[in-house]
């Protein structure tokens, strides 16, 4: 039975981390909110309160809205593809065996690499120059070159594909851990009742994967919205603004152009978008959890 005295000990134990969280996250967020109502710029140290002008400019800025659209599209698609693949792989790799362990390792290995290193490596493999590995493979099969990172219509998806390759293994590990926690008796009972593989997956496996699914979907969505490193390494937001995302636009406006206050306003909008989407996902998954239990 936890007493008040023991609660106090727990409180003091988490106090250092909590203080760090307040100093390095909460306070800067509050300060950003404050700065977003000013005209502070790196090139203009004395700033004034300007109300909601930054927010009004944001909603009228086609480039900024396009970046939000790109981020939304990227986050949704990578969440669907990454988790679908991870669930499928986890079901196939839930058995024991040497080859199974080897495949799991191979799938997980990319997640260990630095995102920037992966981005630069893939940018060389996807280049349109003669040295591009992917196009060389296509030529071997008699196909023409593809402008993977220079075609505005597919550049974002090219980057997305590399990230699916890098992070599916990460989600896979979490799904496998959840799968192992499902009671084997349920599968035995289903087997006895003559359920097909599809019926077993849809009625037993998938519903009982809800903890891993809700965690991975949320993490994939938030990670998708925050994408920066791989875009920076592979396309720099180009060609043009085709792969500009919320984070690349934030960096460009805030640092290259020095418009810190405007960038803070954009960060606030970003926070609200992610917060709302997170709440919606949590609500939907809590409904699903209720139906499973």
């Amino acid at each position: 039975m936890i007493t008040r005295k023991k609660e106090q000990v727990f409180f003091w134990m988490i106090a250092p981390s909590f203080i760090g969280f307040v100093i390095f996250f909460i306070l800067p967020a509050i300060m950003s909110l404050g700065y977003s109502f000013t005209n502070w710029s790196v090139y203009k140290v004395d700033f004034n309160f300007i109300g909601i002008k930054n927010y009004l400019k944001l909603f009228n800025d086609a480039g900024t809205m396009a970046a939000v659209g790109n981020s939304l599209r990227y986050a949704v698609i990578i969440t669907i593809i990454q988790n679908t693949l991870a669930i499928a792989f986890s079901v196939f790799l839930s058995k024991k065996g040497l080859m199974v362990n080897l495949v799991k390792t191979v799938l997980f290995l990319p997640a260990v690499l630095s995102i920037l290193v992966v981005g630069y490596l893939w940018s060389y493999m996807m280049t349109s120059s003669d040295s591009g590995l992917l196009n060389s493979i296509l030529h071997t099969f008699g196909m023409g070159s593809v402008n993977w990172l220079g075609n505005a219509n597919i550049a974002l998806y090219s980057v997305l594909a590399t990230q699916v390759w890098q992070w599916t293994g990460w989600s896979l590990v979490i799904y496998i851990a959840n799968l192992k926690s499902i009671d084997g008796a349920l599968y035995e009972a289903a087997n006895i009742d003559g359920a097909s593989g599809r019926q077993v997956f849809l009625n037993i496996t998938l519903p009982l994967l809800y903890p891993a699914v809700s965690f991975n979907v949320l993490m994939s969505l938030i990670g998708g919205f925050k994408i920066f490193d791989s875009i920076f390494a592979m396309t720099g937001g180009g060609p043009g603004y085709a792969t500009e995302t919320i984070m690349t636009t934030l960096i460009r406006i805030g640092f290259t152009e020095g418009r810190n206050a405007y960038s803070c306003a954009f960060a606030m909008i970003f926070f609200v978008i992610v917060f709302v989407i997170t709440k919606i996902i949590q609500f939907l998954f809590s409904k699903w959890e209720g139906s499973v239990l």
């Binding site: 106090a15 250092p16 090139y43 349109s128 220079g150 075609n151 043009g240």
Partner: protein
Amino acid sequence: MKKILSIILIVTLMTTMVTGCGAKKQEVTTGEKKDVVKEKDTKSEEKENTAENVKIRFMGYNSESSRATYLKLLEEKLPNIEVQFEFVNNDNFSNILNSQLAAGNAPDIIEGGSDTKLLANAGYLLDLTDQEFVKRYMDVGLKSFSVDGKVYATPLQSWFQGIFYNKKIFRDNNLEAPKSLDEFIGLLADLDAKGIKPIAVGAADGDILSKNLMGMALNYFYNTEAGNGFDESFNKGEGKLADNWTEASKQYVKLMEKMFTPDMLGISADQAKDEFATGKAAMFSSGPWDVNILKEKNPDLELAMFSFQGETGKTGWLIGGTGSCLEINAKSEHIAEALQVLDLTATAEAQAALIKDNTGSSYLKGVKVDMDPIYDDCQETFQAGNIHAPWVGWTAGTPVWQTLCKSLQEVLAGTKEIEQVLIDADEKNSIILESIAD
């Protein structure tokens, strides 16, 4: 026992957190006498620092190899000053510098350029007007780095960019350096017809596209009456690219259709450099800073350069002029040492060291440079003084340049018209000027 252990652990964790905040806070909390003692100690430490090695940070966007001889000279001539050179790629330089300036931990010496006026207006740079070494430079070299008559940076060697060509490929195919835009376009077609890749272009960051637009602007606008004084009116938000660069933009589109292809958007500048160095392309637009790298990749490469061409019968232009400069962080703790570096840089010996690794001309009075034979085809351009980089003197140079790069990528991709590019650039200029207005 458990309670005592918990308390010890908590106290240890809290202490390590507070310790990380540094000695300064401890100084604040000590008594006055201890503060006085600390001040005296600090002053004596400072004296010791000037007598022994003082470390100063020097952040630049030209690679260390292009500054090697100069940095070695600093080490020899200023034994008490340890210059820690930090190279930051040009793509990220503004981002990193601006964040360091905002955080108050910017380097002591900054290799500046198109941001100098913005930084000076914001009070980040030391006023160098009254320094003796400033008088050793030509006024034309100081102009881009001056605000309201005050000098905030001293120029390094001038820079220039033209179009390198592979002399062997040209010789083997009986080709010559072009003397007009039409000849250049004809050259591209000739090489293509012979199955030779005419020019290696890495348009992934848009820089080469903007440089070619600049080349057209120099040939078709800046050499006209309307071009005089345009940059000043652009800085006031009065002159507009959309109203003035119409002919230049038309010529750019004419050139773009023969010179660039959409697949070049998927090639980086480094990959294009490799293509040219290994003889897979006949031409490559760049400047002296790449000569050593190209020769390292291919020691047998026979290089030459011609300038950006315009109307028939008129001398072409090189993009360049006052390139980078040396600025001193106004809040540096080693201003005296930083001034010593700038003082030494304003000598013939230092200028020669700079030019040795990165060819250009010097803005120091009385210094003459013998150009490498690589640039023989550009002699007429040098003699006519046709070297200019408009955006270096623009107040909002970097943001406008970046907008041009991105919008020109969209033109090459077929999703934007050239007229909109100039409108976008004008709009960005207005936004930045408005953001720094009083």
